[in-house]
Subunit: 268 residues, 3 copies
């Protein structure tokens, strides 16, 4: 199984599908191809949410503002999964979820191992479109197909991969919790305009049915959108497990006046 | 085979794919994930149009404005198909199409049978994300995977299902036809702004090439968009088989000044 | 394998999936379903880009402004591939790529062979929805399923196909190159507002890191977007291999003041 995620929009992802299917008959499963363009951090958040729901697979992810520069491509082995992506931190939060014991995927506790991709090496199953700058199609899709064919256990034997200790990391800040007060930030905004914070859901789940203060304004904390009228703001816990600032049938970022990276102080 | 439909947008549906594929290796086929958010009626219309084109399958559909409340989840058996969804009427029009003799799918005439899902029962193949409110991932996707594994014929033996006679229904109003006059309504609006009515296509198909009156204004009735110039309004029969109010390369709802639920009177 | 491309938006493509899967268990792969509505030329460009990345397959493509008129449906055999589409030129550039020696797909040099579809002939695996006008579901999807079942080598034996020498062609104009000056045009605009020209990438690739003049204005020619600041215009070579007029994190068509069909003169 190979999953595919990118910020390519349409129809470019289909070229990755074609290149992969010309090299392997793996099952293909789309994660999303409308990830915010060039936004590595938001993509990393979603990959960490979604990839642990999957059985062992090769996960191809391309959000790559550095395409055409000398940034490397890497393969990360995380338990029984492999993640193929540019070396910009994109898959690190997901890789940690896939390996950490007690995480969503009940990882084995194995360490993450990294391998650098050399698309110029002998045996690399690349395309013949060297003139263009579409590494999703010409480097990452072939690499994902190759890793799938060889097997996640056999990365050491692939001649166009070489083990590396150095790669870009990316992690999300932890919130500060002091008594009844949490100081966190907006990590990402979803397609409906809901602001997803880094504060763990438990912090407000205990107050469902009551009010909490968000940046000084009191707002109902509810188990789901359906508990407030359309157009009304609420604090709730999203499917990702974090506190989110939302509006039933509306845009939380407008109602709360926040965007990505903004501080969020919650007093319960 | 499991089909997936939702109003989740992106990238949330991928979490349902992952959860399912961790529980079964069924083929997955997307219906749509950009159904209008929280609009059970419009989603029900499209499911009734599309699901009968499929061979026997498990159909997972989640448009669920009541998520987080005590609304139940149900499985409907309709002939050789199973429909897994919240108990809000979402899949009832499709279930009727799948069972009624003489319907699009040439159903067997079997009655629809309903089963309530108990995600807290022993053996329910749920996730361990109980704190969040994402029933698509944590209740309906596991239920669809479980139904697929056990088989549509074996729902009675599934310990987390119990037969029920009571469930929410949803049906579309019939138009009134008197001689050469039909009084119907706009059922749904598609993504191109075309108003789809509840009047059966035959009512205007006999007048293709002539004009009919829509709410008092004369408009050409044509077999297809290509019979009028770009920007011109027409009355035609959509792929769904119903009369639709359209504009070639434009938005029918603007030209006809109608929206969902509005009365449409057609005099031929 | 059957690939699917259309301008149907959502959820109509799912009806084609259902119809196909009721007739064959072929693997389905989406190309795109948000191709610009009714724009045969742009769709033809993308099909020619993408289909050659695929292994032998049946390619169903429906962008069909003439639906409901007497335009024919055709099947083109191009090497080991079959293309099923309306007879409006949609698949001709792709078919040439799939057959020409030295093309992206390293075609065999075989000639393109065309067959007319007769949906009224005996044995046509059509639906029973004759009243509607949804040829994607009722004619092209069944034809693609039928071709897949019979095999691309066996088109001569299919009773609802008949060989034809006449079909609509579609091709893209060649640019005029004189010394250091190229006079081309904008072929298509992608979803990010980048203007893709008919000038081969080599013409500017030799000047990467320098400036060239586009319609008289000097602009940097760069290997990739990352070489200019966000908001800055550049000339580069897209994944398609052609010169494109772009803005890093912006819309090239606005910065360069061009649209589809407009002349582009590049002096290097």
């Amino acid at each position: 199984m190979i999953t595919l995620a990118s910020d390519f929009g349409s129809p470019y992802p289909a070229a990755m599908r074609g290149v992969i299917l010309s090299r392997t008959d793996a099952r293909l499963v789309d994660i999303a191809h409308d990830l915010p363009r060039g936004d590595v951090r938001t993509a990393a958040f979603w990959l960490a949410q979604i990839l642990p729901t999957f059985p062992p697979a090769v996960h191809l992810a391309v959000v790559d503002p550095g395409v055409g520069t000398d940034r490397r491509g890497i393969v990360l082995r995380a338990g029984d999964h492999a993640l193929v992506c540019p070396d910009n931190g994109l898959s690190l939060p997901a890789a940690r979820e896939l390996t950490e014991e007690g995480s969503e995927s009940n990882g084995s506790g194995d360490a993450i191992e990294a391998f650098e991709i050399d698309p110029g090496a002998d045996g690399f199953p690349g395309t013949d479109r060297a003139g263009a700058t579409f590494d999703g199609r010409d480097a990452f899709a072939p690499a994902a197909a190759g890793v799938h064919e060889e097997g996640v256990d056999a990365l050491e034997g692939i001649e166009w991969l070489s083990g590396t200790e150095e790669y870009e990391d990316l992690s999300f800040p932890d919130p500060e919790i002091e008594g009844e007060s949490a100081r966190g930030e907006v990590l990402v905004v979803d397609g409906f305009g809901t602001a997803i914070t880094n504060v763990a859901g438990e912090f407000v789940a205990e107050r469902f049915g009551e009010e909490v203060a968000v940046n000084g304004t009191r707002v109902p904390a509810e188990r789901s959108y359906a508990h407030v009228a359309p157009g009304e703001a609420l604090v709730t816990v999203g499917g990702h497990g974090n506190v989110e600032l939302a509006v039933n049938d509306g845009r939380g970022i407008d109602a709360f006046g926040v965007g990505i990276g903004d501080e969020v102080r919650i007093d319960r």
